[in-house]
Each structure stands twice: as structure tokens, then as C-alpha cells.
Symmetry: C2
Subunit: 323 residues, 2 copies
């Protein structure tokens, strides 16, 4: 049993509090995708809910214990989820985002009634600004992946996977700040230790993956990826410690593979995935031999994508990558 | 309580037998779509399963009581579902389809191990041929919408909707052979009689809708619609009788509205829908005044669509219909 910051009893408690609209999400075999990829593929679909990503699990849990106001930095999905959960509990929600963040995601955050503040610079600049707002206004700061509730919320996906762990031998998880990977990883290592947990990050935003391999925090000066949901530069030491306990591997994938993964999810599974949600398929595309014949589950963690970019990425003319 | 052919106790029994991968599907509010349509929109999503349509509910139920062999006519979705359910129970499945049927759907039926027989003519010709095969080989014929198990399977969607009927006042259902509409309609009229049940069919395949309005079977000489899943010409008298008891209205929509509906589901909900699955949104688009401010639920009943056609229908350049 991994001695991470997470505790499975608390994750079960979270499951009781989270709005059921975010729970018990579909988990099913996609044979058309399997035929293309040469391995069994099970989809854990986290997009069929009011905020189109898994982040509602964490924001439901954290807002159930809050009153007044809360602020977070977000690339877009946490902000939407916090706005949704906060609205139904009468909280004042402020979201800080980079001016470079997906316009589509920012529009959704505003539509959900949150106060949106944009900053120059990237996601790390938004994190700094959110800290300052929290101090200035004396309100709760929600820090994705650092605040244990965000990991516990994501970990409820792990409970659902563990219940059916006989259906797969490998789980592929998008790696950004680390809440999804450490949360799901913790539960699987405790309840289904035979399942291999592999994290996937873009080559263009590799900080946490490099940190995992070097077993120390490695930062980067910039990020360069379309996978906006996972583009951090400063890994959180506590999260890295947990990740070292629960991840069996962490791999980096190229942008062309992320795009091919999105296209395969559309063409062969009929699913719209944002770039971060295609990281698992991208990992299989980059190393078909490794996964050949295995039974792989992957979490399709979000579908919040601007349609103009999405159409470009998945358009007919694009040549599919055959590595 | 409507005196249809259906019985709610049997529908609950079906729920116990159907593979859970087809049950308890997502039901959630989509505010982005609501903002576009001017009414509350709840999605009941029936595409996140191994056959990407709701038909598995009925084929699970019917095959649980079968041994040996079974034959059906199908526009594509029933055939896939029967192949899937039959394969896991060791049944020999034959599917008869029109040579005009969606190539994509036919490929999936073959991939699932069923014997596929193509006939000249349309879906009604396939129905005739399936009857003949059944007689010749002495095997069970599964007739969609006529065989009560197909209605009872679809009706399990109604049980799930009825549990949360406080969330909507209107349900929009695709109307083809009638299994979905009579099944869901029966349950709602019994358990949530305040909910208005509206069926939606393409103007290009209007036989059952015309029959409902005239209270007698009306056939057509041909069909002309991209909604291949609902393109029948010969309504089944027993099904019409049930539909007369459970439907509050039946409306016809134009092809341009079906296409606009598919595009809106993609752009504002991130969902791939086949034409039949966009009929509900099409109905709202054709009569915004009728639905303004109401809380509408619609069943997104399938996503099996050939991607070349789908890309054409939902491509960027297309002008959205503003009726």
C-alpha cells in the first residue's frame, strides 16, 4: 500500500459528496479502436457531464467544505468545474487564467458566472496571481494537484476503475499537475496492484515526467504544446513524491501523436477529445510494440476544445501518423 | 396508466439482465447548447458503449432468452447490437441489410462476427428477406419494434429518465420503427405522466408520424433522408396502437435541420451524433417558440456514422440554419 498523501477512506467519503452527474462514468471496450491500435482498448469517459471534464469530481468535494469565496488558477477545465460547483453552493468564484488560455474555455468559465481574471504570461503566472488574490482578499486558494481534495476527487475515477480491474492490465493517464495520475494511481496501487500505471505528458511540457525520471523536481523555462490542460513548468514537490510511489512509468509524446490520437478517437470511437485527453492513445501510437496484445484502459479526461482548432487537427486531409 | 403491449414489471426484469455497460447512461445538462437553443437541454447519452447506440439494451434482453441462431433485418445499429450480444452468448447471428445501408455500420456488423446478407432494395426489402431466412432455416426472427423485447430494452432508458423526471418537462425521441418511442413513452406515461413525450421523424421518412396523426397505418413508397436509422416505410399496426397511447405529439423535421442539429451537438456539446440522434435538436430548431424556456431532455441514441459524410455535414463552411 503506497504511503502517499492520499487516503482511500477519504476518497470514498468524497464519492458520497460529489454530485452523481460526475460519477460512475462509462467504461467500455472500443473494438474499432483496438483493431487500429493492436491492443485492447477500454475508454473511461469523463466528458459526458456539465463541464465536459473530470475536474468536477474534485471541485464538488472541495466546495462541499467551503463557504464564502474561492480563487484558483486554471488552464480552463478546473476553472469551469469550480465555477459550476461554486455556483450551486452560492460561493463567489474567481478564476485566474493566462491570456493565452483557450478562448473557448474562458467563455465557458464566464458563462458559469465566475469572475475571470486574465494575466500576462503562462499558467505559472496565473498561479502566482491567484496566490496574491487569495492573500489580498483573505479567501481560500484552490491549488490543483497540491490541494489534496483535487487529488481525492480525481481518485474517485480510480475507485470505479478498480471495481473492474479484471478488464485491463494497463492504465494510461494524462499527466499535468499530477492530481489525476496520483489520485487514480494511489487507488489502483492499493486496490488493484497488478495494473500498470503509465503517465503520459507532451514532449512540449515535460517537467513532471522529467522530474519523475530524475527523482527530483526539474523545471522548464517554457512549454510548447497544444495540450493546454497539462502545460505546467513547475512540478509540486509533494505531488512528485506521490507520483514516485504510484506511477510505474512516465512517457513523453510528440504533438503529431497527440493530434493523431484525437483523430483516432473521433474516427474510430466517435469521441471528441481535447488534446490532453488523447495522450493515452498517443502513447500507444508511439510504441505499438510495447502495448501489442495488452488490455489498455485510458481516461478520456476532457472534451473542451475550440472547434476551429479541433477541425483543423482532425480534418480529412491530414495524414495519419504510422510510427 | 397506458394499456400498451408493454409492462413495467417486465422492463424492470430486463434491467436486471442487460449488461450494465448499456445501463445508467449519462444524463446531464448542457448549458452551452441551452444558450444556443433558448431552452433547457438535458442530454441522455446512449453512444458511450461498445456498439455506440441504445440498441444493446434490447438485444441483451432478447438474447438472454435465446439459444442457437437468430436473424434480423437492420439499418445497421440493431445488427451491430445483436451481433455483440449474440457473440457473447455463443449464438449464430445473421443480419440482413439493404445494399444501400451505411458501409460503416455494415463493416462493424461483420467485425463483430455476424453473417451479413445484403439485399437489393431498401430496409423493407431486408425485412422481407429476414422473414424468409427465418422460415427457411427455422431460426428465431428478431423484428425491431414488433418484438416486445426490443421495446422493453429501449424502455429501460425510460426507467432511468423517470428517476430524474423532476429535471425536465419534455422528452424528444427519435421515431423510426417505434421501439424507442413506445418503450420510453410507456414508462414515462406510467411513472412521470407530467412529462410531454414528443416523437421526431424526418420529413423524408414520415410514415409512422403520418400514421400517428391519422390514427391509421399510412405507408409511403420511398424514403429520402440521411437519417438511415429511422427510414422505414411500413409502420407496424401494433406499434402504432401503442404510440397512439403514449405519444403527446409527433413532428417531422427537414434534412437541413437534422444536419444543423448534428453540427450543434458537435460544436456546443462535443458530441458525435448520427443523423437519427440529432432529430430532437432538429425539432427545437424548427420551432424555437414552442420550446422557449422549457426544460427539454433528448436521447442521443447513436453515433454510428461514416466519418466522410459526417465531416461534410458538420464542416466549418456550412451555414447554420436560423429558422
Amino acid at each position: 500500500m503506497p504511503r502517499t498523501r492520499l487516503d482511500t477512506a477519504r476518497i470514498r467519503a468524497a464519492q458520497q459528496v460529489i454530485d452523481p452527474v460526475f460519477l460512475d462514468t462509462p467504461l467500455y471496450s472500443c473494438e474499432a479502436l483496438a483493431a487500429e491500435l493492436g491492443c485492447g482498448v477500454r475508454i473511461k469517459l469523463e466528458t459526458a457531464n456539465p463541464v465536459r471534464s473530470f475536474k468536477g469530481r474534485g471541485t464538488e468535494w472541495v466546495t462541499s467544505r467551503l463557504a464564502g469565496a474561492v480563487v484558483c488558477a486554471s488552464a480552463g477545465n478546473l476553472g469551469q468545474a469550480l465555477a459550476w460547483s461554486g455556483r450551486r453552493r452560492g460561493l463567489r468564484v474567481t478564476v485566474v487564467a493566462s491570456h493565452l488560455a483557450s478562448t473557448y474555455k474562458l467563455d465557458r468559465i464566464r458563462a458559469l458566472g465566475a469572475t475571470l481574471e486574465l494575466v500576462d504570461g503562462d499558467f505559472e503566472a496565473a498561479r502566482e496571481r491567484a496566490v496574491n488574490i487569495s492573500r489580498r482578499d483573505g479567501i481560500r486558494l484552490l491549488e490543483d494537484s497540491l490541494d489534496i481534495e483535487t487529488c481525492e476527487g480525481a481518485a474517485t475515477i480510480g475507485l470505479e476503475l478498480a471495481d473492474r480491474a479484471d478488464e485491463f492490465d494497463t492504465v494510461l493517464l494524462a499527466l499535468g499537475g499530477g492530481a489525476l495520475a496520483t489520485g487514480v494511481g494511489h487507488v489502483l496501487k492499493e486496490l488493484a496492484p497488478g495494473v500498470e500505471v503509465i503517465c503520459v505528458q507532451p514532449l512540449g511540457a515535460p517537467a513532471l515526467t522529467r522530474s519523475w525520471h530524475e527523482r527530483r523536481v526539474v523545471t522548464t523555462d517554457s512549454t510548447d504544446t497544444i495540450a493546454d490542460g497539462v502545460a505546467g513548468r513547475f512540478p509540486i514537490p509533494d505531488v512528485l513524491d506521490d507520483l514516485l510511489l504510484v506511477a510505474d512509468d512516465a512517457v513523453l509524446v510528440r504533438e503529431v501523436s497527440i493530434i493523431a490520437g484525437m483523430r483516432m478517437l473521433l474516427d474510430h470511437a466517435g469521441l471528441v477529445a481535447e488534446p490532453s485527453a488523447a495522450l493515452g492513445i498517443a502513447a500507444i501510437l508511439e510504441n505499438r510494440e510495447r502495448f501489442a496484445g495488452r488490455r489498455v484502459a485510458t481516461v478520456v479526461c476532457g472534451s473542451n476544445v475550440a472547434m476551429d482548432a479541433y477541425r483543423r487537427w482532425t480534418s480529412e486531409g491530414r495524414v495519419e501518423q504510422r510510427p
